[in-house]
Symmetry: C2
Subunit: 362 residues, 2 copies
């Protein structure tokens, strides 16, 4: 207990060992039954886990060394995750994003039930029994395919001390700025919860590819995930979502980083010529970013020349927009100590800690 | 005649007045009947021009001052185009890309007939009667929806002195690296004709959106056109098209510029981890660009700070990859004299002239 208090006191105060907030960590149930236990019938019988069909990594989807020593899927043992991630790098907080893939199904009620089951499970385990020191902060999974039900799910958890954001998959049937989604954003804004998008169901189940037709290989699909994020961001901006919900913020998780400057230059130019079409946009597109948009760093693009990455980070105002993420335990894990070249001190501090602390009120 | 000879001799020799090859200029028929005249029945009766439905510019799609003094659509009067573009800026060559939008239709035979009619029309007019000084170089329009028929259309024109490339729209039902397209690329490679992609039918007719669902506004659609180009490029690279057809080159026209560095950094990293999946890729993705890929400059992204654009151009090896284009007579025309900040001399020369001269053997 004394150690817990000490942990709480030092957490996030800037000591070397407590200077990281990791914005993309994936906890996993130990098995499908852990989720099934939270599902009522008929969903309990119909649920067979979060399989997604094709576009799986053909080599391995997780770090081979992340399999818990006592067995089970990677990311399913909180003690081993603490050892391999939290304690090793000195994480102050890990923002947890479970992978429910609930929006795959044609039936929105099924998707909504899966989302709720994942939230119950996360609250009872990683945010409950396993969270003795408060290091774990969670995401409320919603099924964006039924926005009214998603808003109710947000209401069910708002005020929980360890749920700090709402999340969904970037796979969708329509860009996220469109009006039918607004009940979700209204609920997020009401409770000060950022809305995070994470890859997962792009082109799978009922969701459309973020490319002109189906890609062939995982490398192609995985590379082009970043295109869906760009389309969603353009949609949020041009539909005026941030004017309609002034308190609403989004987090683009695992969608790439280096595309932001070029996309904003392009959209700013379009805005200059075409703002007549979108009169609700009161500011230049890029002017909304600092107030409303955060991007997580993994998988960070690394050119051969570090100077080019530093230039790109300057162009995108990374000091205010970017938040570190490792994507533990997945195959393309970004180590806190090796992913970035040496950054200016202030930029490093904001990317690894302050931007997330401010966003999530930690 | 003497003046013509003089023009031919000085064209492209580097004098101030002849130092531009403009890689995206749009000639237009004066009216639908000009194309209809080249169509056999039943297509002649069924053809009603190249309307595309929604996603038209809500303000105006062309420069208002580009309407010919004697009437007719913008880009339909070669003398006025010479005055407003060729003579004004001293173009050595204008690469012409007519806008047939032939791949909109469910019926591939209809699309193929429209493509052929546009080629006949272009050969008889802009590349024929109107081309007294050889300034106009043309694109063979193909309907990529029927690759075998497209290959036959390429055969029909290969060897023509003024057709210098094959072109199609970026709107598609599958990414362009996929195998069913290969008869087109084989024909291109056989005749040393680059394959150019130009926006036009994205998300229209039978073609898929390069975004997760339909965008709402023109500004959104037009901004996201660049995403389709990125997906097509990733597809060309990961499917190994450039290994299969070592002589094959592509031109990404009007699809944006500043996305290239970030996309290549991302794909290079994916390749490092996943090349097992695509063993036909013998080189790093970015290593294919100089030999196989050219990008045209319009609409060039312009950040507030010119230095950021210059950094981006360095990152993308613009000196070898980028070719100037104006997109005359469209609304977002890029002036040769105002679009770029001051460039290093060698880079300027290559972007405005040498890269295109080498690609098109001019």
């Amino acid at each position: 207990m004394e150690q817990q208090v000490k942990d709480d006191l030092t957490r996030g105060t800037g000591s070397k060992k407590q200077s990281i907030i990791d914005c993309d960590v994936h906890p996993s149930p130990r098995n499908t039954d852990e989720i099934r236990a939270y599902l009522a019938q008929p969903w309990r019988d119909r649920y067979h886990g979060s399989t997604r069909g094709f576009f799986g990594n053909p080599v391995h989807g997780a770090r081979l060394d992340a399999t818990p020593p006592n067995g089970g899927p990677t990311g399913s043992d909180p003690e081993f995750l603490r050892e391999q991630l939290i304690d090793k790098y000195g994480h102050a907080y890990a923002i947890l994003l479970p992978r429910a893939f609930c929006n795959l199904h044609p039936d929105p009620d099924f998707g909504t039930a899966i989302a709720a089951a994942y939230n119950d499970w996360l609250a009872d385990t990683w945010l409950g029994a396993y969270n003795r020191d408060g290091v774990f902060k969670g995401s409320i999974t919603v099924n964006h395919q039924d926005p009214q039900a998603a808003a109710r799910e947000i209401e069910r958890w708002a005020g929980h001390p360890h749920f700090v954001q709402v999340m969904t998959d970037s796979g969708a049937r329509a860009p996220f700025g469109q009006r039918h989604y607004y009940p979700i954003y209204e609920a997020c804004a009401r409770h000060g919860l950022p809305f995070a998008i994470h890859p997962g169901t792009d082109g799978m189940g009922i969701n459309i590819q973020p490319s002109p037709g189906y890609p062939t290989h995982y490398i192609e699909w995985h590379t082009c995930l970043s295109l869906g994020f760009q389309a969603h961001l353009v949609s949020f901006l041009t539909e005026g979502v941030f004017e309609r919900f002034p308190n609403f913020k989004i987090v683009l998780t695992e969608g790439g980083v280096a595309w932001l400057p070029g996309l904003m230059w392009r959209l700013n130019a379009e805005y200059k010529a075409l703002r007549y079409e979108v009169p609700w946009m009161k500011r230049r597109p890029s002017d909304y970013l600092r107030d409303h948009v955060r991007i997580t760093s993994q998988p960070l693009e690394r050119p051969d020349d570090d100077r080019e990455l530093l230039q790109m980070l300057q162009m995108m105002d990374a000091e205010h927009i970017l938040m570190f993420a490792s994507d533990y335990p997945h195959w393309d894990f970004d180590s806190p100590t090796h992913t970035f070249p040496k950054l200016p001190e202030a930029m490093h501090r904001r990317i690894f800690f302050e931007n997330a602390r401010e966003l999530y009120n930690l």
